[in-house]
Symmetry: C2
Subunit: 389 residues, 2 copies
C-alpha cells in the first residue's frame, strides 16, 4: 500500500425526506444561494417546488438552470458572474454529476481572476471556493463526495478535469427517491460509470492495497446485484439506495487512495465525449471490456483472474488466462444485459476520428506514462477500433 | 437501508514518515499542545523523541502520560485540569484507542462545568471540545476516525461510552511502522476488536444495506488474511498497513450507518473489562462465537449462512444450519489459531460474578430491547457460562 491522504469531510444526509434538513444545512453558510440545476427534470418530479417551499422567505435564491450533461465552461463562466453580482454565500447544486461538477467550477472560479478553464490545466490555481451543498438526483459520478470536476470546452473538443479539497461539497443530501424518475438509459449509464470508477482503481500497479480492493469488489458486486432491479422496477427503494450509496463511496478515495497510477478508460472516453458529446457512462461501458482484452498479459493476468472470481463470481479454474477472459466476457455480458449499446456505431461514432481521438487521449492524460498498462496512441487507436464491432 | 447521517471528516495521513506533517497539522490549531500517551512504549520505539524533535521550539508541549489500557475517568479529570491550567489549544494523542478515547474525554471535559463521567450517561452534554490530532500506534478500536470514547470508573466497575461529532479527531497520522513493536498478544487482541466491530454491524435487523455488508465482508477477509502474517512477521509492512486501515474503516460509519440496533458482544465484554480489567479484544473473541451459537435460530440462520460463505469462505451447501454452524466453528478456529485464549478461566474469570455481570450488561445497554436478537439477563448469563469451557 502506498502512502496516501484520505479526506472525505462531506456530511452525507442519506434517505427519505432528508431534504427537510436543507434550510439548516444552507443556513450555516449564509443567505444568498445560487441554485444550480440541469434540464428541468427537477421541475417535473416536484423537487424544485419542494426546495422553493423549504427555503421560502429565509433565503435569497438565484437560479442557474440548464447545466449540460457534459457541463460547458461557458455555463461555469455564467455562474461565476452571477456569484459575483449577487454576492452568493453558498451554491446549492441539485442534479447529477454534471450539475455538481459545474458548481465546483463556479465555486472556485468566483475567487479566481483568470478564466476558470485554467483550473483544468493546473488544479493548484484553486485557492478558495464557495461552499457547496448538493441534492443528488443520479447515482453515477460520485461528485457529491469528492473535489473533482470534469468540464468541457466543445469549441476545442476538450473535456478535462481539476481536483481540489476546497471544492468537496460540505453537505450532500442523498435521497434514493430522487432517482426514481431517472430513465433506464441514464440508470444504466450511471451504473456503468460507478463500475468504471471501481475498475479504474482496482487495476493498478500498486501492491498490497487489499483493503481498497476488497471494498471495490464489494461495491462492484452491489452494483451488479441492484442495477437490473432498478431497471426493472425504477421505484425499488432498496435498489436505488444501494446504487446511490455505492456511487458516492466508489469515488471518495476509499478504493483509490494508496494506489497510484493514471486511469485508462476515463482518459479514452473523455475524448469520445469531447468529440461526440455522448453519455459518459455508455462510452465507458463500450471501452472497458476492449481495453481489458487488449492489456491482458502475463503481468496482468492474475489480477484479471481475481476480478473474474471475486467480482464476476466465476469458479476458480487452473487456466488463469481462460479465467481472466471469461471474467471480461461476463463483464461485457453484464453491460449488454443492462441494455447498454456496446459498439461505437450504435452511439453515432464511426472510424473517422478514432486516430485523432487516440492522439488527443495521449496528449490529455498520463496514459503513456503511468496507467496500469501504459499505452501509445497506436494502442488506443486499436482499442477504439475494437469498439467498432 | 435505513436513513442515516455519515460524517467522517478526519484527515488521514497514511503511510511511512507521515509524522513529518505533524507540526503543520498542529499549527492550524495553536501552540499549546497537550501530549497524551500511555505506558511509555513510545519512548522505547523512538516515537516520543521524534515528536520532541519535530515540535522543537515552536510549540509549548505539556504531557499527560500513563493512560491506562481501559482508560480511567480519573485520568480524564487530570487532563481536563491540565488543559485549563495551561490553556491548551490542541490535544495530541499518541497511542491506541485507550489514549485517544481518554483524549476525547479531556477535549470535551475542558468545556464542561460538571464531571466528564456525566458524558457516559448523556452524550448531548458534549457541546464543545478541543481539537484532537492523533498518531495511532495500535490497529484496533477505530477511535482515530470517529467520535466515540469508552471510559472506565473502576471504583464502580463501570465501563461506559459517549459519542459526539465534536470529538472526531481532526487529523490522524497512521504510519503502519508505528505498530511494528506491538506484541503478539496486543496484535491479536486488536484484530479481534476490528473483527468484532464488523460483526456487530453486520448482524443487524436492518434489511437491504448491502453496500455496508459487502464492505464489512471485505474488511473481515482482509483482517483474516493479514493477522497471521503480522503475528508471524511483526515488521511486515503490508500486513500492518492493511490491518491499520481496516481498523479505521471498520468503525467510521461505513459498515454501521443505515443499520440501526444495539451492539451485543461489546455490551457483554464491557462488563468483563469493568470487573476484571481484561484486554477488550480478547474478551470480545471469547464471547462472540458463544453469542453466535446462542442466537442461531430460524430468523438469523440465513445471515449466519451468508457469513459462513462470504466471510469464512465456506462452500455453499443445502443445509443452512450446518453451514451457519460451520461458519461459527471456523471463526472460533480462527481466533484459536491466532493464539487467543478462548475461555474465561484463561483470562482469570470464574463463574463467581457471571450472574452479576449479566445483570449489569442488561442495565448498561439496550441488549434487552434493540440488539440483533434481544437478550435477557438469563440469556447473557448462559452465554457467559458457555464461555467457561
Amino acid at each position: 500500500m502506498e502512502n496516501f491522504q484520505f479526506y472525505a469531510p462531506t456530511k452525507v444526509l442519506f434517505g427519505r425526506n432528508q431534504v427537510e434538513q436543507l434550510p439548516e444545512s444552507l443556513k450555516a453558510y449564509g443567505q444568498n444561494v445560487l441554485l444550480v440545476y440541469g434540464g428541468g427534470s427537477i421541475k417535473k418530479n416536484g423537487l424544485y417546488d419542494k426546495i422553493q417551499t423549504l427555503l421560502g422567505e429565509d433565503f435569497n435564491l438565484f437560479e442557474l438552470a440548464g447545466v449540460e450533461p457534459n457541463p460547458r465552461i461557458e455555463t461555469v463562466r455564467k455562474g461565476v458572474a452571477m456569484c459575483r453580482e449577487h454576492q452568493i454565500d453558498v451554491i446549492l447544486a441539485v442534479g447529477g454529476g454534471s450539475t455538481i461538477d459545474c458548481s465546483k467550477g463556479i465555486a472556485a472560479g468566483t475567487f479566481y481572476d483568470g478564466d476558470p478553464w485554467d483550473f483544468t490545466g493546473d488544479s493548484s490555481l484553486v485557492t478558495e471556493a464557495l461552499p457547496i451543498v448538493t441534492i443528488l438526483t443520479l447515482a453515477a459520478t460520485g461528485s457529491e463526495m469528492n473535489g473533482g470536476s470534469v468540464l468541457s470546452d466543445m469549441s476545442k473538443n476538450e473535456k478535462l478535469s481539476f481536483h481540489s479539497p476546497l471544492t468537496i461539497p460540505k453537505v450532500s443530501i442523498l435521497d434514493p427517491e430522487n432517482t426514481y424518475s431517472v430513465p433506464a438509459y441514464q440508470t444504466m449509464a450511471g451504473s456503468s460509470d460507478i463500475f468504471s470508477h471501481l475498475i479504474e482503481n482496482y487495476f493498478s500497479k500498486a501492491k498490497g492495497a487489499e483493503v481498497q480492493d476488497r471494498i471495490a469488489e464489494g461495491l462492484m458486486r452491489t452494483v451488479m446485484q441492484y442495477t437490473p432491479i432498478a431497471l426493472e422496477e425504477p421505484t425499488n427503494y432498496e435498489a436505488r439506495a444501494n446504487l446511490m450509496w455505492a456511487s458516492s463511496l466508489a469515488l471518495n478515495g476509499l478504493t483509490g487512495r494508496g494506489k497510484s497510477g493514471a486511469w485508462t478508460c476515463h482518459a479514452i472516453e473523455h475524448e469520445l465525449s469531447a468529440f461526440y458529446d455522448i453519455t459518459h457512462g455508455i462510452g465507458l461501458a463500450i471501452v472497458t471490456p476492449r481495453w481489458m482484452e487488449y492489456v491482458l498479459n502475463e503481468e496482468t493476468v492474475d489480477k484479471f483472474a481475481m476480478f473474474a472470481v471475486n467480482v464476476m463470481g466465476l469458479a476458480v479454474i487452473n487456466d488463469k488466462y481462460a479465467l481472466a477472459k471469461a471474467g471480461i466476457r461476463e463483464l461485457k455480458n453484464m453491460f449488454t444485459a443492462w441494455g447498454v449499446p456496446m459498439t461505437l456505431p450504435e452511439v453515432g461514432i464511426d472510424e473517422e476520428k478514432l486516430s485523432l481521438m487516440a492522439q488527443k487521449a495521449i496528449e490529455h492524460s498520463a496514459l503513456s506514462t503511468s496507467s496500469y498498462v501504459t499505452l501509445t496512441a497506436e494502442d488506443v487507436h486499436q482499442i477504439l477500433t475494437n469498439c467498432l464491432v
